[in-house]
Structure formats: C-alpha cells, structure tokens
C-alpha cells in the first residue's frame, strides 16, 4: 500500500514538473530550437528562393482593387486598398439574438452577420425593403399572404449593396444605434458613408467580414 502511494506521489510530482516546464513559455516541440553554427550557403539560398516564390504567390492572391472590410465586434466598416484606409465608418451589425419559428419546435432564426469572404452581388438605388417573415413574427404580427403587404419603402436609405442570402449593406433611420449590434444580420451605415461605399464598390468587390 505504502509503495503504491509512493509511486503515485512521485508520478504526480513528475507531472507537476512537466507542467512547470510547459508553462514557462518555452516551446516544446520537435522543431530545432538552436541555430546550427555552420549554415550551408547552397541550402540557405534554395530556402530563400523558395520563400520568395511563395511570398510572391501569396501577394498575388491579395486584392489589388478596393475591398470592404467589416469588423462586427467593434461595428466598423472600412474601405481599404492594400494598406490604405479609404473610409472608416461606424456601422451596425447583427445582434446575435434568436427568434423561434412558429410551428417548428426546432427551427429558429439567428440574427448574426455572416463572417467570411463575400462579394458585392447587387447595387440598388432607392431600395424597397421586402419584409421577411421574421420581421412580422418578432413584432407579434400575422405574416401577410400578399407580397404587396411586405413592401416598406424608405427605410433602407438611398442605396443597398447585396452580398448574398438576403444580406445587404444599407442605410438606416436609426443612426443613434450605429456602433451597436442591433441588426438582423445586415450592415447599416449613415447616409454619407453609404454613399461613399456605393461609389467605391462595384459588383464583384470583395467584402471581408470578421
């Protein structure tokens, strides 16, 4: 019994020491941690050429034209061209709240702004909002049968840029809420910033959202 306890204690002590080493911040890996004294110039040159080729390949994948960048955590929209920031606008993005679908025990809408890379698919002027089902349900209203009852002009601002699955960059009547996560997934801007974005963005302009 004593022997078992002793080996258990020494085992735990060993694990503790391993943890101490791990938490010291030193990398524990198979990678070489020391630089070899004699560097083979031919090998170094080969590696440098390979690195340069790959770096060039990666650079070629970077957008050369202006692109839209959206930070959903801090609610900012940027237009960037390479390292240059052409516009920094306060925005409103998805609230992250959920709404149950009536008559579907498992179905629900999640009001997140989608993350990832998208492209501008449509550019609209004076857009009319076609209210989806959730817009009625969240207000406790009946979903209308007629399409005409879903139309709501004047709430999306002067322009709208669609980037797929019903998501748009558009204007808002609630400018005091800019900078907050309040939308159903769309990206809202004030009128001036929306105009700038509309001017810079073409169909195909990349939109990166994180």
């Amino acid at each position: 019994m004593k022997r078992v306890l002793l080996s258990l204690c020494s085992g735990l002590m060993g694990l503790f020491l391993i943890t101490l080493v791990q938490s010291s911040g030193l990398p524990i890996s198979n990678a070489s941690n020391t630089r070899s004294a004699a560097v083979d110039p031919a090998l170094l040159h080969t590696l440098q050429v390979r690195y340069k080729t790959l770096a060039k390949q990666l650079t070629q994948l970077m957008p050369t034209q202006p692109y839209i960048l959206v930070d959903t955590a801090r609610n900012h929209l940027y237009i960037k061209r390479q390292d240059q920031v052409m516009l920094d606008a306060l925005a409103s993005t998805g609230s992250g709240t959920i709404l149950d679908k009536p008559g579907d025990s498992k179905g629900q809408w999640i009001f997140d702004t989608p993350r990832g890379e998208f492209t501008v698919q449509s550019r609209l002027t004076n857009p009319v909002w076609v209210k989806p089902d959730w817009a009625f349900i969240e207000e406790g209203l009946e979903v209308p049968k007629s399409q005409a009852d879903r139309l709501e002009p004047g709430v999306l601002g002067e322009y709208a840029l669609g980037f797929g699955k019903g998501y748009f960059i558009h204007g808002t009547l609630y400018t005091r809420l800019l900078g907050k996560n309040v939308t159903h997934g769309c990206i809202r801007l004030n009128d001036d910033d929306l105009k700038s974005v509309y001017r810079h963005a073409k169909v195909g302009t990349p939109i990166m959202i994180f």
């Binding site: 911040g25 890996s29 198979n30 110039p41 040159h45 207000e139 994180f210």
Partner: protein, 213 residues
C-alpha cells in the same frame, strides 16, 4: 572540391536574393536562418491553399507573438499574444479546423414582451475558453488577470483541470497514443473576448512555430 565549394559560395553571395521589394508576408522573419525559413515556407505553403478560397482564417504566429485574422493573404485584424506555452506542436503540420465556437449566451426575442431584448456584445463573450480542432489540437485561451488574484486562481484551476483530465484519461484507459498537441495562449481580456467573437465553426487555423529561443 573545396575550390568548387568556395566558388559556389561566392557565386551565391553575388546572386543573393533581394528582399527589399518583397512585402512582409511573414513578420519577424530572419531570412538568414534556415530553420526559420523552413518554417516560414511550410506556413506559406499552407496559407496559399487557404488564401486561394473565399474564406477567412487564423494564423497563430508564435514567432511574432500575434494571432492574425486573415483573408486572401491580407491581415484583417491582429491580436497580440502576451504569453504562450505549447506541447507536441510538431505532430501535425497542416491546417487545423475549429470544431465549434465557444458557447455564447444568446438572448431570445419574445414577440409578446414589451421590453426589447438586449443584443449580444463583446462583453458577453467568455474570457477563458478552450478551442478543439480537427486534426486533434487543443487551444486554451486565457485572459490577462493582472491585479485580479481571483481570476488568476480560476484560470490556473481551469488550465490544471484540462491537464489532469488528459492525464487521467491516459492513466485510466492505458492509452499509449501520443498526446494531442496543445497550446495555451494568454491575451488581454478584450482580446480574449474579441477572439471568442471572431472564431466560427470550421474556421481553419495555422500555427507558425518559433525556431529560436
């Protein structure tokens, strides 16, 4: 033979690769260190595959102490790493896919309620969380607890609990399989929440390992 070697060295130094015009795609890279170059090319090879597709990805750059959110090779956002420790990182060299996001307490909209539901914000995000990946990798994200001993104790407790569970699993099952790689990252409180906010299910992660101490 020595003469040939010397001639080759001179020729190579004359035709040395010019770096000036190249963009800084891998930060803090010593281009005269073969090990660092080897690691950088490995990361670049993986990154090119990811950047060719329309999706964002993460690069955990342990050599530059930063977590980079990237898309198409462009750095979208940078989170500084304050401290890190790792084990068995060399087991896998590929991109890791995040299995699921850290849990978020989402508010439910009640259509009959008079008051509006508060939206979620960065402040609702966890400050300490674990990310699990495929192929197996565990990343424990801790936030800086300067001046808060209670938080420090809680975080250390959680880190120890993670380790004890994996050791217990090995002892219990007698599993001799190599331990999966793991990484503990300490970032500021805001950055931990920002990271929890940004990651999405299936998001690819790359890790650049340091090659010098």
């Amino acid at each position: 033979m020595t003469f040939l070697r010397a001639t080759l060295s001179i020729l190579l130094s004359l035709t040395s690769v010019s770096w000036a015009a190249e963009p800084d795609v891998i930060p803090a890279l010593d281009t005269t260190d073969p090990a660092a170059l080897q690691e950088a090319t490995r990361v670049l090879e993986e990154e090119i595959k990811l950047a060719s597709r329309p999706r964002t990805y993460m690069l955990i750059d342990l050599a530059a102490n930063a977590i980079l959110i990237k898309g198409r090779g462009v750095e979208l956002h940078r989170i500084p790493i304050e401290n890190w420790s790792a084990s068995h990182l060399a087991q896998h060299m590929t991109a890791y896919r995040l299995r699921e996001r850290p849990p978020v307490n989402r508010r439910k909209i009640d259509p009959v309620a008079v008051t509006e539901q508060e939206p979620i914000s960065l402040a609702d995000m966890p400050t300490t969380f674990t990310l699990q990946f495929s192929p197996p990798l565990r990343i424990l994200v801790l936030s800086n607890t300067d001046g808060n001993p209670w938080q420090w104790t809680m975080q250390r407790g959680r880190a120890w609990w993670c380790r004890l569970r994996s050791w217990g699993n090995i002892l219990w099952t007698g599993d001799k399989a190599p331990s999966p790689p793991s990484l503990d990252l300490t970032v500021s409180l805001d950055h931990a929440q920002s990271l929890a906010w940004t990651v999405t299910e299936g998001m690819p992660f790359l890790i650049r390992r340091p090659t010098t101490q």
